[in-house]
Symmetry: C2
Subunit: 231 residues, 2 copies
DNA sequence: ACAAAAGTGTTGTTACTACACCCATGG
DNA sequence: CCATGGGTGTAGTAACAACACTTTTGT
């Protein structure tokens, strides 16, 4: 809270986005190939500097608008602020990262210098962006367990097999469609939409179509333990 | 990632700390009374501007050192970054807030212009600091349920009645010492230390003394639901 | 003996996992 | 009629809440 007699130096501040989408059954992150130094040719998170009169959230939405259609980002939340001085080799720069989720099936047109990369197999990344991506995945994994955040990775209507594939890609382990359905139904997170979806080429029973009841973030399992007394 | 031809304006950046301690059975937050405008006479979070070569975490620790003995802050974690332009009436300033926890029983000497205030009964707060305090309490409440974070609010050795009081103050509802003990024992979060503590003035069975097995933050209940397959 | 405080035992419940089994469709 | 994929039924279980009961102390 000190006031200054001389003007202190100020750090630059950028907003970054860790945008995830399940593509081809794999959790991918959107990365941008740097055209100039530092880290020329390496891959970095999309984003850019904060402008006056902007919040960090509007700033990252503005920067994303040039990479992805913003309407396709179904969920956006702040991940954290990275401030280690050596994170940028040339200047003093803080970065506030956001986690963004794009539903399965959409294929936003992205500029030629951006590409989706599997989180499990990241290329060489610029700055500390590799660890920021992993922090985003941890946040996503946690929230998949106790919230309805799956809505932001799933398409509008989906079969339970499709939803299971989304959860498996994000969580990195096998999920049972049978039990996933019961967990999400009991919590009132998903509901049947009343239609069925055509079977695969080799036949099979048509699958029921479900949807998330709400497409806004909600905590569905608020007190895992230590819940308040019942009456 | 735009590079600039003209130098853009930069926001100031402060680190703030939401420091909680259970005092007299109530969750308190450390606030500082502003001596000058804006918000003269109102209460604000301790903190200050970021200096070059500092991380946000070392910065807030440095600022706290003048208010609280840093060794008494048993846990510190980043809460988030607030960036709404109108949050400061006079200048463009971002604030990254940290959550700090001080164990029960310590009574750090604080400067005369700082004071502990019950979170349930906050005075008029400067800037957006009131909502930052409440965000800190929400973070704390969530983590009490699925981690060992209670170690940072509890003294080194404690009886289960004392620990229950700490949890009740932080959570805001009644907690059963009986069940709290079994939950934390089963998870391996606490252990008996082998001694007993003297009873109150009206007699009563002496209580066993427990301690947290680890005094570093650990997630003790990682997958509340959707846990990976057992084998 | 009795009050006070702490600890234990026991029952019931919920929300899961795991797995066997049943249903609908195409070839 | 069988392969394929989706759905249902059910048993087992871990982790908890609630509450009655017991133990250890002081007065």
């Amino acid at each position: 809270m000190a006031e200054f007699t001389t003007q202190p130096p100020l750090p630059a501040h950028v907003a970054l986005a860790v945008v995830f989408q399940v593509r081809a059954g794999v959790l991918d992150v959107l990365l941008w190939e740097r055209a100039r130094d530092p880290f020329r040719g390496m891959w970095s998170l999309p984003g850019g500097t904060l402008a006056p009169e902007e919040t960090l959230e509007t700033s990252i939405l503005r920067h994303l608008a040039t990479k992805v259609d913003v309407r396709e980002v179904a969920h956006l939340e702040q991940l954290g602020t990275w401030s280690e001085p050596p994170r940028h080799p040339e200047r003093w720069e803080l970065a506030t990262a956001y986690l963004g989720l794009v539903p399965l099936g959409l294929d936003p047109s992205v500029p030629p210098d951006t590409r989706w990369h599997p989180v499990e197999d990241l290329p060489a990344t610029a700055f500390d962006h590799g660890s920021i991506v992993l922090a985003g995945r941890e946040r996503l994994r946690g929230k998949l367990s106790y919230s309805n955040i799956g809505f932001a990775l799933a398409p509008d209507g989906f079969t339970l097999a499709e939803l299971r594939d989304v959860y498996e890609a994000a969580l990195g382990y096998e999920v049972s469609a049978t039990n996933l359905k019961r967990v999400l139904l009991r919590r009132g997170a998903i509901e049947p939409v009343g239609k069925t979806k055509a079977h695969g080429p080799a036949g099979g029973r048509p699958a029921e179509v479900y949807r998330f009841c709400s497409r806004r973030f909600e905590v569905t399992d608020p007190f895992a333990v230590l819940r308040p007394p019942t009456p």
